[in-house]
């Protein structure tokens, strides 16, 4: 027995020790995919690209949650988090992440070096990576102005001088030119199909080019309004003589999408109810939605969902446990007033008549009747339907003498004068001033709210897509570019095409006098909560008028609706009350009051130093070639 064992051991040692050490130790790792392996298989290369898609940055994003939608007085956060602020730090909204750029550059170089992938895959992947890189530079230039343009990976070798890795900022116009040129270069390499939405397409490249050129054009044209917001070498600011060139590029690239040369894109008109139709642009992901061009897609039960619906759904219909999450994003009355009437005129929501007496409405919705369908498509109004159920928004009873009967929440019952039994005196969905998770402005958001059952639970989450580019915006870009070029005929054509979809079928004639205000207004009501408000306000250089740090009164709120520079520093609410006055003909009817939620103590102040976010001191320390932003 012992002998056998010894023989066995000797045998084992004998056979194994024949291998050289190198052979024995050199085992391919099983948990790491090497660069060669990844770039020899199209599926693996695509998964790397998928990671790059996932890391793309948006200003408002369903990934980062409701809070990225709430700022700028267009909405009130139900927890009152941001409405006591007055000034923004200079560093707010900063974006300066070259790790992502490096990964994209490496991806492009490795694709190029790969021999195992076929040419068609290589061309498309490269074009997609270049699209993402241009998209990211666009995102940076919007926030920071000119940034260093790095288009190849940098490799540090021992002993190399660090100064060769320090790059100065490009001019702001050079970064916009880069985005435009990249889009031109890759549009032919990308597929032209309106069915491909979550990966880059020719239309996505053109939509990016169109928006970038429009931004650059307006900075060139309106930069003169803010002479302090420039740097002498052009890292910030674009010379005004370049405006027309940029606007022409914007108009031409928009036309290429609108005329169908890069895919079958149409405004979404699938649903006869115009408000429902507008809301459906954002939740209909079927092939019939030919409006969306490039989206960030999500998929339920597959690991990529978001909690936007959980966090913003009406409180009483919340699919999460009571008081845990709902109703955080409450659109402001400021925004509601901006939706015009069907005769193309502006009017505040009627609360008092000429003599100062309250106006009474038989139905709550009557106060909002005859308006732009996008109002009810963007915002859940009092008594409106969500998922087939009415929301319960009302602030209390108002008595004959003007006194108000309300309660801390809807389960606290009160007895009205002249009655015997206690009744509910405030809506289950709010508003109660200071009570979180219910609306505190009288409105809930509808845009991006998912009507799918269970999408409001944390477990399932919502898989609504975030729309980065859609045809509606492209039409507005075209209208604005044409207007700035003085081509009012073309501007009116696209402008009214978009408005007709919202039920504003009487054509509106843009003129050189009213055009700017009208375009600013139209972008606000069409594109609110889609990440445009902030950058639009900046590029027109009206941010320091709109957010001038002065508190607002109700008189300010209802005056000058539709004026581009109208102050918008504090989010107001509109509270519905039911008249309790038996015998009065208006008994049981509804009246509204404008209210400034109690938590709104600040007034937004946009300083000259906020136009371009601060380049952190730590970055300037490591790269002294970076020029500081103006006014900081």
């Amino acid at each position: 027995m012992k002998k056998l064992l010894i023989t066995m051991i000797i045998l084992l040692i004998g056979t194994q020790s024949c291998k050289t050490d190198k052979e024995f130790l050199d085992v391919p790792p099983l948990s790491i995919l090497t660069t060669e392996i990844v770039f020899s298989d199209p599926a693996l290369a695509l998964s790397v690209l998928g990671d790059l898609y996932n890391r793309a940055v948006d200003f408002t994003s369903l990934k980062t949650g409701w809070a990225s939608f709430v700022e700028f007085s267009e909405a009130f956060p139900s927890d009152g988090s941001t409405v006591s602020t007055t000034t923004w730090d200079y560093g707010t909204w900063g974006l300066y992440e070259y790790g992502y750029i490096r990964d994209i550059n490496l991806f492009i170089e490795r694709l190029d070096a790969s021999n195992a992938l076929n040419a068609a895959d290589k061309a498309r992947f490269t074009a997609e990576a270049r699209f993402l890189r241009a998209q990211y530079y666009f995102e940076m230039v919007k926030r920071m102005g000119g940034v260093p343009l790095i288009t190849k990976s940098l490799i540090y070798e021992n002993g190399a001088a660090i100064t060769t890795f320090q790059f100065p900022r490009a001019k702001e116009s050079e970064v916009y030119d880069f985005v435009i040129n990249e889009a031109e270069a890759i549009k032919g390499l990308l597929p032209s199909s309106s069915l491909q939405k979550s990966r880059a397409t020719a239309a996505a490249a053109l939509a990016m080019e169109c928006r970038a050129a429009l931004y650059a054009g307006s900075i060139a044209r309106y930069g003169v309004k803010s002479p302090l917001v420039t740097l002498p070498n052009g890292e910030v600011g674009i010379p005004s003589n370049r405006a027309a060139g940029y606007y022409t590029i914007a108009l031409n690239s928009a036309k290429a999408i609108i005329n169908g040369s890069v895919g079958d894109y149409k405004l979404y008109t699938a649903t006869p109810d115009l408000a429902e139709n507008f809301a459906a642009i954002f939740y209909d992901k079927s092939a019939s939605n030919k409006e969306t061009i490039f989206i960030e897609d999500f998929k339920a039960f597959a690991g990529k969902t978001h909690q936007f619906t959980t966090q913003t759904q009406p409180f009483a219909q919340s699919e999460e446990a009571a008081n845990s999450d709902a109703g955080r994003l409450n659109p402001s009355l400021n925004l509601v007033e901006a939706f015009e009437k069907l005769d193309n005129t502006y009017a505040p929501i009627g609360t008092r008549d000429d003599k100062g007496n309250p106006i009474y409405y038989t139905n709550m919705q009557d106060a909002f009747a005859g308006r732009d369908a996008r109002l009810a498509g963007t915002i859940i109004l009092p008594d409106a339907l969500f998922k087939g159920k009415k929301v319960d928004i009302w602030a209390g009873y108002v008595l004959a003498d003007g006194k108000i009967v309300s309660a801390a929440n809807s389960s606290v019952l009160q007895t009205l004068p002249g009655t015997a039994s206690a009744v509910q005196v405030v809506g289950a969905d709010g508003p109660v001033d200071g009570l979180a998770f219910r609306t505190q402005t009288g409105f809930y958001i509808r845009k991006y709210l998912d009507p799918t059952p269970q999408s409001g639970t944390r477990g399932r989450g919502s898989d609504l897509a975030f729309i980065r580019y859609r045809l509606g915006e492209v039409l507005l870009n075209a209208a604005e570019a044409a207007f700035e070029l003085g081509d009012l005929g073309t501007a009116n054509l696209y402008f009214n095409q978009l408005r007709a979809r919202a039920g504003l079928t009487t054509p509106f004639a843009l003129t050189s006098a009213n055009g700017f205000d009208r375009i600013v207004h139209e972008r606000r009501v069409e594109l609110v909560f889609e990440g445009h408000t902030f950058f639009d306000t900046k590029r027109w250089r009206i941010a320091n008028d709109v957010w001038d740090g002065t508190k607002m009164t109700v008189a300010d709120l209802v005056a000058n609706i539709g004026v581009a520079t109208k102050r918008n520093t504090q989010p107001f609410g509109l509270y519905p009350y039911k008249l309790h006055s038996p015998g009065n003909p208006n008994h049981g009817k509804w009246t509204y009051r404008e209210v400034l939620p109690g938590r709104v103590t600040g007034a937004l102040t946009f300083r000259n130093g906020n136009y371009y976010s601060q380049i952190a001191n730590s970055l300037i320390l490591s790269n002294p070639k970076l020029v500081r932003q103006p006014n900081q």
């Binding site: 302090l228 300083r607 020029v627 103006p630 900081q632």
Partner: protein
């Protein structure tokens, strides 16, 4: 028992000896302070709105100690001894600062050794002279002169002159730093001497505290920061 005590004492002694101060840095002790002046007169600004940078060259890396001036126009920095360069970023402050080229500004060299007071001499666009505040029948009245300091090519016009009152010592155009204000539009001013303004004192949030603070501010066309008079406490 004795043994235990001995061990404990030994430990105490050991810890005392070992914990020398090698790894502890000396905290900064030198205070650099001063105020914004024009020919010896203080210049008032808004709280936290006018920044300054303090560079210390010679260490290879260029980064500034940053801070902002107080409403009275003073500043204070606690730092180490050394040679510093003091400057104010471009387009900040209601005053002119010497420009070297289009993109670089002059700096003030400060050799700091112990506590030191360095006043920052600047050229304001305007000065508010002889401000005088009185209170009568629910109003704060102010009288003052305006002196136009910059009269060359860099001269700028006045947009508005405002009289602010607030409950706290922070008084400015910022929305939470004023209870009430009165304005004079700059284009209506014909004479810069003997200007008078008055503002009605609103219902105070704390009626038992019988005082308000007042100051005059001048907003200059094309300049973000206002220039302010000293703050006065006014008994009611």
């Amino acid at each position: 028992m004795n043994n235990k005590l001995f061990t404990f004492l030994l430990l105490v002694v050991a810890v005392t000896i070992i914990s020398c101060d090698k790894d502890n840095f000396e905290p900064p002790k030198s205070v650099l302070s001063g105020r914004l002046t024009y020919k010896g007169d203080s210049i008032g600004v808004e709280y936290n709105q006018v920044p300054f940078n303090l560079f210390q060259p010679g260490f290879g890396r260029i980064g500034a100690i940053t801070g902002t001036f107080t409403p009275e126009g003073t500043y204070q920095v606690l730092t180490f001894d050394g040679d510093y360069k003091f400057t104010i970023p471009k387009n900040q402050g209601p005053f002119l600062w010497k420009e070297l080229t289009s993109n670089s500004r002059d700096t003030l060299i400060v050799s700091l050794k112990g506590a030191q007071t360095v006043d920052i001499e600047v050229i304001p666009f305007y000065m508010i002279r002889k401000p005088n505040f009185t209170q009568s029948s629910g109003k704060v009245n102010a009288s003052f002169d305006i002196e136009k300091i910059v009269t060359d090519a860099n001269a700028k016009n006045i947009q508005t002159i405002s009289l602010f009152i607030n409950k706290t010592q922070f008084v400015s155009n910022q929305t939470n730093e004023k209870l009430a204000q009165a304005d004079i539009v700059g284009t209506t001013i014909t004479n810069f001497s003997n200007l008078n303004m008055s503002v009605t004192i609103p219902t105070l949030p704390t009626p038992n505290e019988k005082y308000v603070f007042a100051r005059i501010g001048v907003r200059i066309v094309g300049v973000e920061d206002w220039i302010y008079s000293p703050i006065r406490k006014i008994a009611l």
